[in-house]
């Protein structure tokens, strides 16, 4: 049965029995050879799963916690390996005892109906199965405490990038205070590799209810809580797109509060920063569309730098076209979907807080024409 096979293989990929106690105390940030092999096996399984579903394979978009590409995510995966190894051994031992007891001590067909010997307990045996678990718990606790300290108490190095993440119902606001950039839903950070470590430190706030920032391949999740500033950090070691989403139930569209983190080469990142620093272009060919924008309530909630629009409830639209998605990943960023979204947000993302402006079709076309120039 392929499904059972798949699950079995996947469990193998959890590397349950991969390493034992000692070497998991030694954290390495680079994937070992074994890890690379196991990673490939997992990609194979996922590929096979895609074939099942009859879809194209892109396993890099599977946000698995066992395919870490960032320093804190690596530390966690190592700890996870260690915990899985220990619990795996306990499982095998205790489950075997249970199976043995059930088979060995079942009542036989030729049973003589006498009662078995009554045993009420045993001091030494009880002591043994109390002390051994205590020892295991001590080891697990110490290892865990070490990783907590390593991740949570990490100092912010001088070259680190700082980003403010603000959770809204149901989208993400990213502000780069040192660079003066504001964007939404798609976070760009530089890769950290070689001699120059460039981690990104995020400070997390919420504009309304509790959210949680979770990109499994980059780090564990941290909540965004109103009236509380939390922090976390990532240090991605490979370029590419990493998917995540809000992990704390935050209302109607919790499911469509998707996160995309683009890890760029230092050059690409610098280029992206220069683009984002600019104010919006004033293309005279779409002046009519800009007028529609400026005369509609759009400006109450959105910012477009260089125009009168300075609202803070919705995403900054200054460089809208530099993003791949709309409505926090609910739609892809094409003129058609942009038009559908403006026309009726509630159809595209039921419950979304952006109101429909009831624009005439002609105005809608002008507006979309204007927005598509915001590169």
């Amino acid at each position: 049965m392929p499904v059972a096979f798949q699950i079995a293989l996947f469990l193998a990929c959890l590397r349950v029995v991969r390493r034992f106690i000692v070497d998991s105390f030694l954290r390495s940030t680079r994937p070992s050879r074994k890890e690379q092999i196991m990673g490939k096996i997992m990609l194979l399984i996922l590929a096979q799963q895609r074939l099942f579903a009859g879809e194209k394979v892109d396993s890099t978009l599977v946000p698995s916690i066992f395919a870490p590409e960032s320093v804190p995510a690596h530390s966690i995966a190592h700890l996870a390996d260690f915990v899985l190894a220990i619990t795996g051994v306990i499982f095998v031992v205790v489950a075997s005892l249970l199976v043995y007891a059930v088979v060995r001590f079942r009542r036989r067909a030729d049973d003589d109906d006498t009662e078995p010997a009554q045993i009420y307990g045993s001091g030494p045996v009880e002591a043994a199965w109390t002390i051994v678990p205590i020892l295991i718990v001590v080891v697990l606790t110490l290892t865990t405490a070490r990783v907590i300290h390593e991740i949570q108490d990490a100092r912010q190095p001088a070259g680190a990038l700082e980003v403010q993440v603000i959770g809204h119902q149901w989208w993400w606001e990213f502000r780069y205070p040192r660079l003066g950039i504001v964007t939404a839903n798609e976070l760009h950070v530089p890769v950290s590799r070689g001699e120059v470590r460039r981690p990104t430190f995020l400070d997390l706030r919420s504009a309304d209810v509790v959210h949680s920032f979770w990109v499994p391949r980059l780090a564990g999740k941290t909540d965004l809580i109103p009236n509380k500033i939390n922090s976390m950090w990532i240090e991605p070691e490979r370029i590419g797109l990493f998917l995540g989403q809000c992990a704390k139930y935050c209302g109607t569209q919790h499911a469509k509060m998707l996160l995309r983190v683009y890890v760029d080469t230092p050059e690409d990142f610098d280029r992206w920063v220069r683009e984002q620093e600019k104010t919006a272009e004033k293309d005279p060919s779409v002046a009519a569309g800009r007028l529609v924008f400026e005369q509609t309530a759009c400006i109450n909630c959105h910012v477009i730098k260089g125009t009168v629009a300075n609202g803070r409830f919705g995403p900054d639209l200054t460089h809208l076209m530099s993003r791949d998605t709309l409505a926090s990943g609910a739609l892809s960023n094409s003129p058609q979907e942009l038009r559908a979204w403006i026309k009726s947000p509630d159809q595209c993302k039921p419950g979304a807080l952006m109101p429909a402006m009831n624009l005439k079709d002609a105005d809608l076309d002008l507006l979309v024409g204007y927005l598509t120039t915001l590169k």
């Binding site: 099942f52 579903a53 599977v62 946000p63 916690i65 966690i76 700890l79 996870a80 915990v83 220990i86 619990t87 499982f91 205790v94 249970l98 007891a101 059930v102 001590f105 079942r106 009662e115 078995p116 010997a117 009554q118 009420y120 307990g121 045993s122 009880e126 109390t130 718990v137 697990l140 606790t141 290892t143 405490a145 907590i148 300290h149 119902q169 309304d208 509790v210 949680s212 979770w214 499994p216 780090a219 564990g220 999740k221 941290t222 909540d223 809580i225 109103p226 009236n227 509380k228 939390n230 995540g244 989403q245 809000c246 992990a247 139930y249 919790h254 499911a255 998707l258 039921p350 419950g351």
Partner: protein, 565 residues
């Protein structure tokens, strides 16, 4: 009538025997159930109430699983999906779990300690009806929750209802009010019943039954009720604060006015974590009766079992913030809760080992209750181990609020609690009705439920590891979650079939089941010393016991337990 009763009283016989009127019609029967203060009738009503809502919550989750079977599904709107998972969770904990455990405690505790009823029979009825009306109030939200604003009907804030989502600003209409009032009313019922059971156990044991000679089930229910008293109170306090916020304009959780979102989390989980143990300890209690009887051996390490349960009760009160590892506590705070959470696995492990020790060297009979008991031990093991994974805070930063957590706590709530409650129903059904449940249907029920359970919940760990958060009404294709979710849904279907078999078994066995007699399992505790079903006064003569297994002593006069205890 009055005269007869009086004569009976005077002659010293029990008056209840002669009052059974011959010509009762249906209305009389219903009336008798509605006004009863008999612990057995109330216990059975608790259990029926729990099973009814078990089916309701099952239907809710059936809809949820259909919605999640394929990516980008439009079977449910997000609003309805959010209401369904809120109602499913709330129902399962407050309207299924609590009534079922109180039902068992109500029915069994007086019988097992040789008493004629609980200490306060009227308070008992009061507690039951409060629970019922709490449940009805919650479900009335489907009709009355819209309020003036036309906002959603049933509550959609999740079963732990994090602030400030429950505030006026984010939850319009009255759905959240029904949620908080329903739980508060039910909570008062739970407190009343818990106090009642504690008093009964401490004051009404039959002669000879010292605390150390109580059946384990009684001990564990005593501990459970103590936990109810301690932990329902902070929940009620939090609900009152929330009501003040919503109606009077106070700012406990109103973050826009400087209130605290984490305050609610602390209050809720100080209740919420021990609540898991409140529900699972009665399952431990049932296992501690079923496993010895079907292994034909005394429970292994009785004092250690009691001690381990008390340890669990105490430690479980200091682990709540392991539900909150992601809220940005200090590393010291996180480490404290790692230590306390890991510690709780020690007494839990001890219990598993003691059940194994009970089976070891026995002669195991695989009747349906025992099958559920063995599955219970197996699931408890797995749930404990995934619990250790979640206790490792950094690992938890990944797994928290993912499908892995859902799989983990369903292993507790279904794999351990529901399995053992099924086992308990198969075990005590003959006592309550005088008829055995059908063994053949019982085996079908067990195996189908086991297969369905593992299909759903084993699989469900994996999407969590692959980054699927809980409480999302839909997901995109291409994340590696599709097939896994489909398997979960299939497993759910199998579990539904198993539940239908169970319901059919109950209905048909009530009328056609094999006659049980007083002691069908050849068991050892006092409830099997009286007839099936027991008379209203339980025991014509209050029994006198000398050991933990009084019926063993009677059955084996040459080798009684009291020689060894």
């Amino acid at each position: 009538m009055n005269g007869t009763a009086k004569t009976n009283e005077m002659s010293g016989a029990l008056p209840l025997v002669s009052i059974a009127a011959p010509d009762k019609n249906v209305l009389d029967h219903i009336h008798a159930w509605l006004v009863t203060v008999d612990h057995k009738k109330l216990g059975l009503m608790y259990i029926m109430y729990g099973l009814f809502f078990f089916v309701v919550a099952g239907i809710e989750v059936g809809l949820i699983r259909i919605q999640l079977a394929v990516p980008n599904n439009h079977f449910l709107t997000p609003q309805v999906f959010n209401q369904l998972f809120t109602m499913h969770g709330t129902t399962m904990v407050f309207l299924v779990g609590m009534p079922l455990i109180f039902g068992f405690a109500n029915y069994l505790v007086p019988l097992m300690i040789g008493a004629r009823d609980l200490a306060f029979p009227r308070l008992n009825a009061f507690g039951f009806w409060l629970s019922v009306f709490g449940g009805l109030l919650l479900y009335f939200s489907f009709i009355g929750g819209e309020g003036m604003t036309g906002a959603g009907s049933a509550p959609d804030v999740g079963w732990f209802a994090y602030a400030p989502l429950t505030g006026r600003a984010f939850s319009k209409g009255h759905s959240t009010d029904y949620w908080t009032l329903g739980i508060m009313v039910g909570g008062f019922g739970s407190i009343a019943t818990a106090a009642n059971i504690i008093t009964t156990i401490l004051c009404m044991r039959c002669p000879g039954m010292t605390l150390t000679k109580m059946p384990l089930l009684v001990w564990l229910n005593l501990i459970m009720c103590g936990m109810v008293l301690v932990t329902i109170s902070p929940l009620t306090a939090a609900q009152i604060m929330l009501l003040l916020d919503r109606f009077v304009g106070s700012h406990f959780f109103d973050t826009q006015a400087g209130g605290s979102a984490t305050l609610w989390m602390h209050f809720f989980w100080i209740f919420g974590h021990p609540e898991v143990y409140i529900l699972v300890i009665p399952a431990f209690a049932i296992a501690s009766e079923v496993i010895p009887v079907f292994s034909r051996k005394a429970i292994f390490g009785y004092p250690v079992m009691v001690g381990a349960t008390i340890a669990i009760a105490f430690v479980s009160m200091s682990v709540w913030a392991h539900h909150m590892f992601t809220i940005g506590m200090t590393s010291t705070g996180n480490t404290f809760f790692v230590v306390s959470t890991m510690m709780i696995s020690v007494p839990t492990g001890i219990k598993i080992f003691n059940w194994l020790g009970t089976m070891w060297g026995g002669k195991l009979r695989f009747d349906t209750p025992m099958l559920f008991g063995i599955a219970f031990v197996f699931h408890l093991l797995i749930m404990g181990l995934t619990g250790v994974m979640l206790a490792a805070a950094p690992f938890n930063w990944q797994l928290n609020d993912s499908y892995f957590v859902i799989a983990h706590f369903h292993y507790v709530l279904v794999g351990a609690i529901v399995f053992m409650i099924f086992g308990g129903i198969y075990y005590w059904f003959p006592k309550a009705t005088g008829r055995l449940l059908n063994e053949r249907l019982g085996k079908w029920h067990f195996w189908l439920f086991l297969i369905g359970f593992h299909l759903t919940f084993d699989t469900m760990h994996i999407p969590g590891v692959l980054g699927m958060p809980r409480r999302i009404y839909t997901y995109e294709a291409g994340r590696g979650w599709e097939i896994l979710n489909l398997i979960c849904t299939l497993g759910m279907a199998v579990q539904s079939v198993a539940t239908l078999v169970f319901v059919w078994n109950i209905v048909s066995s009530i009328f056609k089941g094999r006659r049980a007699g007083a002691d069908p399992w050849d068991a050892w505790t006092l409830e099997w010393a009286t007839s099936s079903p027991p008379p209203e006064y339980n025991f014509a003569e209050i029994p006198i016991v000398k050991s933990r297994r009084p019926l063993w002593d009677i059955k084996h006069p040459t080798d009684p337990d009291w020689k060894y205890e």
